[in-house]
Symmetry: C2
Subunit: 341 residues, 2 copies
């Protein structure tokens, strides 16, 4: 099969043998795979990953490996999420694929926090080949069958859209809360869609630097402002998705005392940060990463969100290196790769 | 009266007229006042404060100013704290004094968060004279009458002890949670006492750099370790009270995924900080500042905590500059000033 391989900053499309599903895994045929900013970071050396890149995908089940011994039942806890989907998808089923492949047996998994399993591998990021290929293998437990009315072009957004819904799993946000969304990149736009789908757009302000992207957020019902515009501080909830070291300082200036600041951005480096405002204002800072696939799929199925306007370009898998070049251009929204083209 | 005055890094004991209580205020006679690290920071220029220093105090009511028009009733909210004590303490009553003097009328105050009132003054820190004097004035709403069995030497710790109880107002900590306490300075030791008073010492580890202070924490029932000792990570709750820019990085290394990190330290400057672990591990970071006086006074009254072993030295008010010199010596615990000596 063809696959996009990364090693030490070198990207190339290579010919590889088809992977073989092990116990509890499925062999999947990729229909569409997305390129994410994390992939661009990995290609610059983040995570030190070598292998087949990619973690955003819509695929279909080709075959199942041998059954796996059932894991112990998870402990009951209010934090339980990412439950094991069931029943096992049949060959031919069209699926979205959770990226964290957990051991299902450690204390963290038993607490229901399999996305944080210390022994986990992560598709295309950590110790496991990813989705920018004709085929991949993934644990059956990671597969979510897609409703028929969700197109491949929408379904390829399930992983980042789930991440955009994650803040609302972590924070109780009320309809009267003032929300500030910082950043109008891909993640910022998906967060805007999640805000709207949650019925929270009425008192939300999106702050960005690209008028054409802010227009998308305005169409979702959010008030929008350029970074240089004055915005009244005192927000109950601030979502930081600028991907920039200066984002946190701006977020701290906007959040109210005892308010909540959700950090979605990761970036390389360690910017200087004055933490005193966090202590003095007793701000709650929440790191937020992967989110609930079921919630994202449900929102797509109900038509509560439509991420397809974010599609910028589609490349055949054999041109995946060119797809990366395109994704790297500043301001580019979602670039997807089609192994069947 | 005598008072310790600060302006532009210059400390001196000065003679001043007695302050006059305004509507809703009381004139208080100081029995003992404590020197806090924040005072040392202010004397180095932090907050740009000019005036009479100090915010830790046990005092007695000398007289009351005219009654103040009653403020609007506070909104009901789960976050309500620092309720207005009542009834009004009579002249002669011995009191602890909350440091944040709120307007009682703004949205923040009405939400019950008067410690964060944007119009507040703060004793000896912001726009209002402090406690290192023979007398001070403070809002009657800020006074808490002390039980007769709590000595002045214990009561002078109410303000910092309340701050040490504050994390347990903000976080639901279970008896089975593993707690790491970073820092064995004054605040670290008081946090250790709060941990013990809350019945949480069994699975708590205190990490510090002073064997003689760690011995105090060990006597409280906490496991102790030097900074250089290996400590197994994965703590459910980490309390950061090192007062050092390196403390946060250590705290992030110790907290479990989805765990809680409580920041108690403030310090000048903006150290470089890699925030990616907060996002990837979905850590919850809580700033934590002033705490519940009623809880601290109750713990002292029940004998659940005894901070008096932290008393390092006692100076007459006329020697308050020397008291500051003493408090500045590394490793010094609590220095108190007695205006009646």
């Amino acid at each position: 099969m063809l696959a996009l391989h990364h090693e030490n900053g070198r990207l190339q499309v290579v010919e590889r043998p088809d992977p073989q599903p092990r116990a509890g895994e499925a062999l999947l045929r990729v229909r569409l795979a997305g390129i994410c900013n994390t992939d661009l970071e990995i290609a610059r050396g983040y995570m030190g990953f070598s292998g087949i890149l990619g973690h955003e995908v819509v695929a279909e089940v080709e075959s199942l490996g041998p059954a796996r011994e059932a894991p112990p039942a998870p402990a009951t806890t209010g934090l339980t999420r990412a439950p094991l989907p069931s029943p096992v998808p049949a060959p031919g089923a069209r699926v979205a694929v959770e990226i964290n492949c957990a051991c299902e047996r450690c204390d963290t998994c038993r607490r229901g926090e399999r996305n944080h399993c210390p022994k986990r591998t992560v598709l295309g990021i950590l110790g496991r080949d990813g989705t920018l290929a004709e085929r991949l293998v993934a644990p059956v437990a990671n597969l979510h069958v897609l409703p028929g009315n969700v197109s491949d072009e929408a379904a390829v957004f399930v992983e980042p859209l789930a991440a955009a819904f994650q803040p609302f799993e972590q924070v109780q946000v009320d309809a009267d809360d003032r929300i500030a969304l910082l950043g109008d990149g891909k993640l910022g736009l998906l967060l805007g869609m999640a805000i709207t789908a949650r019925g929270l757009a009425r008192r939300a302000v999106a702050i960005g630097r690209h008028p054409e992207k802010l227009a998308i957020l305005a169409a979702l019902g959010l008030r929008v402002a350029l970074e240089s515009d004055p915005v009244e501080a005192g927000f109950d909830v601030v979502l930081e998705a600028t991907g920039s070291p200066t984002g946190l300082a701006r977020a701290l200036a906007l959040v109210r005392p005892r308010g909540t600041l959700v950090l979605k951005s990761t970036y390389a480096g360690a910017p200087p940060l004055d933490l005193a405002p966090i202590v003095i204002q007793e701000v709650r800072v929440l790191g937020s990463r992967c989110g609930p696939f079921a919630v994202a799929i449900d929102a797509l199925g109900r038509g509560a969100v439509d991420p397809t306007p974010l599609l910028a370009a589609r490349y055949p898998l054999r041109d995946a290196v060119a797809a990366f070049e395109r994704a790297r251009r500043p301001g580019t929204l979602k670039v997807v790769v089609d192994p069947r083209a």
